[in-house]
């Protein structure tokens, strides 16, 4: 069972990939997903987080099959 982790914009370039699959054996918070996906670093405070296309806070618990996204502040319009 895996979750999909996505990165966008400048963060995608820093991480070096746009998407990865992460195996999950127990419930994880969004912060813990970041730590597992990004080499045990802690989640930078300025990053925005989404689960299944909706904004969430970093303590939201995710499950297998979910899509988690990390991205920098937005600059559209």
């Amino acid at each position: 069972m895996t979750i999909t982790v996505k990165f966008f914009a400048s963060l995608r370039e820093q991480v070096g990939t746009s998407e990865l699959q992460l195996p999950v054996t127990q419930p994880l918070t969004v912060s813990q997903v970041w730590t597992q996906a990004c080499g045990n670093s802690s989640l930078p405070a300025h990053l925005l987080t989404a689960v299944n296309l909706e904004y969430v806070s970093c303590d939201t618990v995710v499950k297998a099959g979910d899509e988690i996204a990390f991205f920098p502040p937005v600059t559209g319009g």
Binding site: A9, T75, G76, G77
Partner: protein
């Protein structure tokens, strides 16, 4: 990547499009007006916002701009704010078109419009939609300068 999205649900007349293609905002407004025959005689006001690419930023010449988005989430967020606008104000119709991909100076980046019986709700809904879009919709700008390129880190305050 889903390049184009256009959705209209019963009861809430909102239209949303995210497109890689250049578009003429005035032509699209006219076409949308023509499609609004169900509101004939009821529309007393339409407020519009058109955002255009400038050729400079923070003192540097900008040659091209790349706009990235989060396919799926971006469209969902634009739908959400459109629905909220219908809940908050007495409006008849909304239209949001946003460009993604490579753009050049003077290209239209975004068109937002709100139709209503009166100017108050039309202005307020239009302002709400563009501000929510700019502050929360997942789009990111990358500028190509004369030398090198950079991600835009923050939007201008207003």
């Amino acid at each position: 990547m889903k390049l184009r999205s256009f959705r209209r649900s019963l009861g809430v007349n909102m239209s949303i499009e995210v497109t890689t293609k250049p578009f003429n905002p005035w032509g699209r407004l006219q076409a949308h007006e023509t499609s609004l025959n169900t509101h004939f005689g009821k529309t007393g006001a339409v407020a519009t916002f058109v955002g255009t690419m400038r050729d400079s930023n923070e003192g540097d010449l900008v040659q091209t701009m790349w706009l990235e988005h989060y396919p799926g989430m971006t469209e969902k967020y634009l739908e959400k704010i459109s629905q909220t606008a219908f809940q908050r104000w007495n409006i008849l119709d909304t239209l949001i078109i946003h460009r993604v991909g490579e753009m050049h100076p003077n290209d239209t980046i975004v068109l937002v419009a709100a139709w209503a019986g009166h100017r108050g709700p039309a202005f307020e809904a239009c302002r709400y939609l563009i501000e929510e879009l700019k502050h929360h919709a997942p789009f990111w700008k990358r500028e190509t300068l004369v030398e090198g390129s950079r991600w835009v880190e923050t939007n201008t305050p207003g």
